[in-house]
């Protein structure tokens, strides 16, 4: 079941790699949030506890409802053009992502022979981390960078479930809150950047240098 969810998670990464619409990024983030929540709920299906439901519920709330809504609001409010502006060809980006994922899966498989870990969630998580970084590197629009950062964070979450680390719930909630505030602040900053500069992309951010 966890493996199935992880593979669906990987599919969202392909979706992100092929699409050229910003809306699709937000949808992908929503799906990823749902998948993460589902994966966290699975262990509690058999022995239900109210305490264990807090984390998946807050993931649903923050990653599926609040953050995507907020990003959508920012997109509409700032009247960002709905197309991403890649710095490399889309036809190069997809093979890049596929190649990276292949390498990650193969390496994870090799690693799993010496260390105990769930290969598929582990590799999916890592792929999401790398894809997030690619999005930050190869896209011009700052709002896409924010989405890339969120995909990276989702990847880390998945990665965390794969290495079976059990952090106290308080810390996990703290992490969620941190990520939420980061996105919130980035939204405010984007708002200001919009009112200062014409476009919201990295070409505007070149004032500070020596």
């Amino acid at each position: 079941m966890e493996n199935a969810a992880s593979i669906l998670f990987c599919l969202t990464l392909f979706y992100v790699a092929t699409t050229s619409r910003i809306k699709a990024y937000v949808t992908a983030l929503r799906i990823q949030g749902i998948l993460l929540a589902v994966m966290l709920v699975i262990p509690f299906l058999y022995n239900f506890s109210v305490f264990g439901i807090i984390l998946p519920a807050s993931i649903l709330l923050i990653k599926v409802i609040i953050v995507p809504r907020y990003i959508n609001k920012v997109i509409v409010k700032l009247d960002i053009k709905r197309r991403i502006e890649p710095t490399i060809q889309q036809m190069v980006f997809l093979p890049l992502v596929i190649a990276t994922m292949t390498i990650i899966f193969i390496v994870s498989h090799i690693i799993s022979q010496s260390t105990h870990l769930d290969v598929i969630p582990f590799a999916s998580g890592f792929s999401a981390i790398v894809t997030g970084i690619y999005l930050i590197m190869f896209r011009k629009k700052l709002i896409v960078h924010v989405c890339g950062f969120l995909i990276l964070e989702n990847g880390i979450f998945l990665f965390g479930t794969a290495v079976a680390s059990e952090l106290p719930v308080m810390i996990e909630l703290g992490m969620l809150l941190d990520v939420f505030v980061v996105v919130f602040l980035m939204g405010i900053a984007l708002n200001r950047i919009r009112s200062t500069f014409e476009n919201i992309d990295v070409t505007n951010l070149g004032r500070l240098k020596d």
């Binding site: 079976a164 680390s165 952090l167 004032r207 020596d210």
Partner: protein, 484 residues
């Protein structure tokens, strides 16, 4: 629990209070009271006068106590001068930045104290990220294009960096698998105690991720860009706070994982990595000092240099480690002096360009002389503490297995000193070309008072060399398996 309340809960409550109280003077008085109380309790904790057990996930070891004292000291002086700073005229757009200034400062104090005192890696991560969140809006205080760009870059780069550090923490769990620590919580002491059973490959990977990730916040090259932009564009008290305490908060994270790794076979690998990062930072500072033309950036690069020296000392170990701990203390004090005086100069000349600042000693004798003293202190001129701590670091390097490193370090430091002095003397002495020259002389302000007292503190500590400080640092060194 009173200690915990004063350290974390009280600043949080004050942050909320300051948000709702509109009067800035009232906000200042509340914040100052909290800062003074925090400093008093930190001193009590440091000297062992009054120690209480902290709740789970928190704890105070020697390292935490020292860094907490550094934070508390820097924070107190920063808050003390903040009101005078906020009264200075700014552009109309920047007025609304003042309303949340103290609220964010208090939140910063709570988050940073929690990071210093956390005994759990996850807790440390959450708090370290929270400090970034509290500082980022403060960087945007002036509401200018540059400060907006600096805030965006800082927020983004550091958030991604910290996310990397979290991957490192997860890898650390992985390294515990199959050993005695499997399934245990990520407490530093537990991990350091059973470090020998950790899987070395995963441990190395964890160290790389945590070190590289936190480098964005410490300002270790090549990840220092966001940090330089943020410190040079933030208002001076905030820049002082960042240089004096926030960089150390991130360094604490690296030290925590280093504390685990020194007890394993990977110790040499980690120390080599630290030394590489440190040398690269010194090199970057060396190169950029040649071309820097903004004095706040220059001080920010000086921070890169000194954090590099501290990291070098930690990586070298032995006496250099002890020197690094002293250096962390002195550097934080002197950086506050430099940034406060740079702020005074900025508010008079309205420019951060070295070329457009002239004859500071004639026009602003107080700030000028204190700035000069601060520069001499940061360059390692006795009797200011940095001289002694650098001497210890150098001695440690000389008697380590890589004495040749010292030649490079000396070379870099020499040119950094020459270039900094060239810039600073041109600001202080070159005559003419300054705005309203007739209006020379300046009033004694609270910033001068704070800077002078801090310089005095740096002198007194280095000359008196209190036993309690040495004992604490020795205790820290022992925790790292170093017996100087």
């Amino acid at each position: 629990m009173y200690q915990f309340y004063t350290f974390i809960v009280l600043p949080l409550l004050t942050a909320g209070l300051c948000y709702f109280v509109r009067n800035i003077r009232l906000q200042y008085l509340f914040s100052l009271a909290v800062a003074a109380l925090h400093l008093a309790v930190s001193i009590c904790l440091f000297t062992g006068l009054y120690v209480e057990p902290l709740p789970s996930l928190f704890g105070a070891d020697a390292l935490g106590k020292l860094f907490l004292l550094i934070l508390s000291n820097v924070y107190f002086w920063v808050v003390l001068v903040s009101y005078a700073y906020l009264k200075r005229p700014v552009s109309p757009r920047a007025e609304d930045g003042k309303k949340i200034y103290f609220s964010l400062l208090n939140f910063y104090l709570a988050a940073n104290t929690a990071a210093m005192l956390s005994s759990h890696l996850g807790m440390y991560w959450v708090c370290a990220e929270a400090t970034t969140l509290s500082v980022a809006p403060l960087v945007y205080y002036y509401r200018s294009d540059e400060s907006l760009e600096a805030m965006w870059k800082y927020l983004f780069l550091v958030s991604v960096g910290i996310a990397f550090a979290f991957i490192g923490i997860l890898l650390l769990t992985l390294s515990a698998q199959g050993g005695a620590l499997e399934g245990k919580d990520l407490f530093f002491t537990t991990l350091a105690g059973g470090a020998a059973s950790l899987n070395p490959i995963w441990l190395k990977a964890a160290f790389i991720f945590i070190f590289v990730g936190l480098s964005t916040k410490i300002g270790i090259a090549p990840m220092h860009y966001g940090d330089i932009d943020a410190t040079s564009n933030a208002p001076s008290p905030v820049a002082a706070l960042m240089s004096g305490s926030l960089r150390l908060t991130a360094l604490l994270g690296v030290l925590r994982i280093y504390q685990i790794i020194v007890h394993t076979t990977c110790a040499q690998f980690a120390s080599r990595l630290l030394i590489m990062g440190a040398m690269l930072s010194l090199f970057v500072a060396f190169i950029f000092m040649f071309k820097v033309n903004n004095y706040k950036r220059m001080i920010a690069y000086s921070s890169v240099e000194h954090l590099g020296l501290i990291t070098l000392g930690i990586g070298t170990g032995g006496l250099a480690f002890v020197g690094a701990m002293y250096h962390a203390l002195y550097n934080s004090i002197i950086k506050v002096v430099l940034f406060l005086m740079a702020g005074n100069i900025h508010s008079r000349y309205r420019s951060r360009e070295i070329g457009s600042v002239r004859a500071v000693l004639t026009l602003m004798p107080l700030s000028g002389w204190i700035f000069l003293a601060g520069f001499l202190a940061i360059s390692g001129i006795p009797p200011f503490g940095i001289f002694f701590s650098e001497l210890r670091i150098f001695e440690g390097i000389l008697f380590s297995d890589k004495p040749w490193l010292l030649a490079f370090v000396m070379f870099f430091l020499l040119f950094i000193f020459i270039n900094m002095s060239r810039n600073i003397f041109s600001m202080l002495y070159t005559a003419g070309g300054s705005p309203d020259e007739s209006d020379s002389g300046e009033k004694f302000e609270i910033t001068h008072f704070a800077a002078a007292v801090l310089l005095l503190i740096a002198c007194i500590i280095s000359i008196a060399s209190p036993a309690i400080l040495y004992d604490t640092i020795e205790q820290i060194a022992n925790d790292f398996g170093i017996y100087p």
